[in-house]
């Protein structure tokens, strides 16, 4: 009996020793998390900054605050990976280096990620409970971004001028030009204007109005209730225009801002959850992406919609 007990004790001791050695060895691999300068930090009211610092800054700023338990591998490895990807996607310390419109768009996107429960990451909040936003904090954030929403004024002459300029005849029309191509190889598809409208949106966050067109495959999928997942070959084209308001509250589309495509091919675009993304901006249809990795930004924003095949706007029953 005593012999068995002794054998078990020795066995446990050996396992513990191996684990201890392993844990010590793990600490040797310690990728650096550098807290660099934060000279272009976001400027916001103190209550907003307090929420951002509490919930976002550890991964989305240059002032990561590591607790003692964050510094022990393997937890440290996960924290380091979060910080690296987090700073790349959004960095509140480099905030002012972005154009003002992009700053606002990022804030709206961040609030939407929080509302959808995609941020802060569950794997982070399991340990860092302080990062979970209270309903009151979320209300404060929503009120703040709402205060940044585009303000339309009736008869906005600058917007009218931009629209008028776009209506002037061009030296070379699009049919004569080479079609622009995104960095991921997706070319501008001029035929979308003849597709069926599947919905429309009023984007009061950025002062645009949008129409979503679907190709025949998309339209058929809506008719047959096959929208989750959407079938391969589905293409959406979402077009955005400025909002022009008159004195009676009538709003009509002004200047063309951009067209965005989502193309479904579960094999070709497997790395972005089956969707190929493209965005062509201004009337000159300038491709949005600076590198082929731009689509990662697209899918990150769409990720909270994973239960609806990453599509935000519900198509209208046809």
């Amino acid at each position: 009996m005593n012999q068995t007990k002794n054998r078990s004790r020795t066995y446990l001791l050996r396992i513990s020793s191996v684990l201890a050695v392993l844990l010590i060895a793990m600490q040797l691999y310690h990728p650096a998390i550098n807290n660099s300068k934060a000279d272009a930090e976001i400027q916001a009211p103190p209550e907003i900054k307090a929420i951002l610092k509490n919930a976002c800054y550890d991964c989305h700023s240059n002032t990561t605050d590591l607790r003692w338990y964050d510094q022990i591998a393997p937890v440290y490895w996960q924290v380091a990976a979060h910080v690296q990807t987090g700073r790349k996607a959004l960095n509140f310390s480099q905030w002012q280096n972005m154009p003002s419109a992009d700053q606002k768009a990022k804030l709206w996107e961040s609030v939407n990620q929080i509302i959808a429960g995609a941020m802060p990451l569950k794997s982070y909040t399991i340990i860092h409970r302080q990062a979970v936003l209270t309903p009151a904090e979320l209300t404060v954030l929503k009120a703040y971004v709402s205060s940044l929403a585009a303000k339309s004024k009736p008869g906005d002459t600058s917007k009218l001028k931009v629209a008028d300029n776009q209506l002037k005849p061009k030296k070379k029309d699009l049919a004569q030009k080479k079609l622009p191509v995104e960095m991921n190889g997706i070319a501008y598809l001029p035929d979308y204007k003849n597709w069926q409208v599947i919905s429309t949106t009023d984007r009061f966050d950025n002062g645009t109005m949008r129409v979503i067109f679907g190709n025949d495959i998309a339209v058929k999928a809506v008719k047959e209730n096959r929208t989750n997942p959407w079938p391969d070959g589905t293409i959406f084209a979402k077009v955005a225009w400025d909002q022009l308001e008159d004195a009676k509250g009538n709003i009509t589309p002004g200047a063309f801002k951009q067209v965005e495509y989502m193309i479904k091919d579960h094999q070709k675009y497997a790395s972005t959850n089956g969707w190929g993304f493209a965005r062509f901006k201004t009337e000159n249809l300038i491709p949005y992406g600076k590198t082929a990795l731009f689509a990662a930004e697209c899918i990150n924003c769409h990720r909270p919609m994973k239960d609806a095949d990453f599509v935000f706007t519900q198509p209208i029953r046809n």
């Binding site: 129409v211 709003i251 009337e283 209208i316």
Partner: protein, 143 residues
């Protein structure tokens, strides 16, 4: 053990029974759909422009084709998937202007249908106002 497995299986079944497999409000916007009798007015018709009215809280899409201008108008509601957007809610009206000569200002017929596809009666002043408004909508700009 057997009792435990049965309990777990019952819980899983119960939870799944409660889950709405069509998503939060379904993957398709059913409320904004046109009644069957009016669908042909927009299917295969050319999108012309979109419009909204801040005071009325409405949003519309204008189509052109077969000598008709068709304006579909919805009540708008906050997008449950994007804080910062409004999307079509229930259908309000489908208005049809018929002109015998496409592009001409002469309107031969004006009809306004409600969300059920029933023809609505309007006084002539309201009719003139609506014809004026719909005719004034300019095509959206496409590069």
């Amino acid at each position: 053990m057997k009792r435990f497995i049965i309990s777990v299986a019952t819980c899983v079944l119960a939870l799944n029974a409660c889950r709405d497999n069509t998503g939060k409000t379904g993957f398709i916007n059913e409320r904004a759909a046109l009644p069957e009798s009016l669908k042909s007015l927009t299917v295969n018709q050319k999108f012309t422009t979109s419009a909204m009215n801040k005071t009325a809280g409405t949003m519309s899409v204008l189509y052109a084709g077969k000598g008709n201008l068709t304006l579909v108008t919805w009540k708008k509601k906050g997008d449950e998937n994007w804080f910062g957007a409004n999307v079509p809610d229930s259908l309000l009206t489908v208005e049809v202007l018929h002109s015998p000569y496409p592009g001409s200002a002469h309107v031969e017929l004006y009809n306004c249908f409600d969300h059920n596809g029933q023809l609505m009666k309007q006084d002539s002043l309201a009719e003139i106002t609506r014809i004026g408004y719909i005719s004034s909508l300019k095509p959206s700009i496409f590069p």
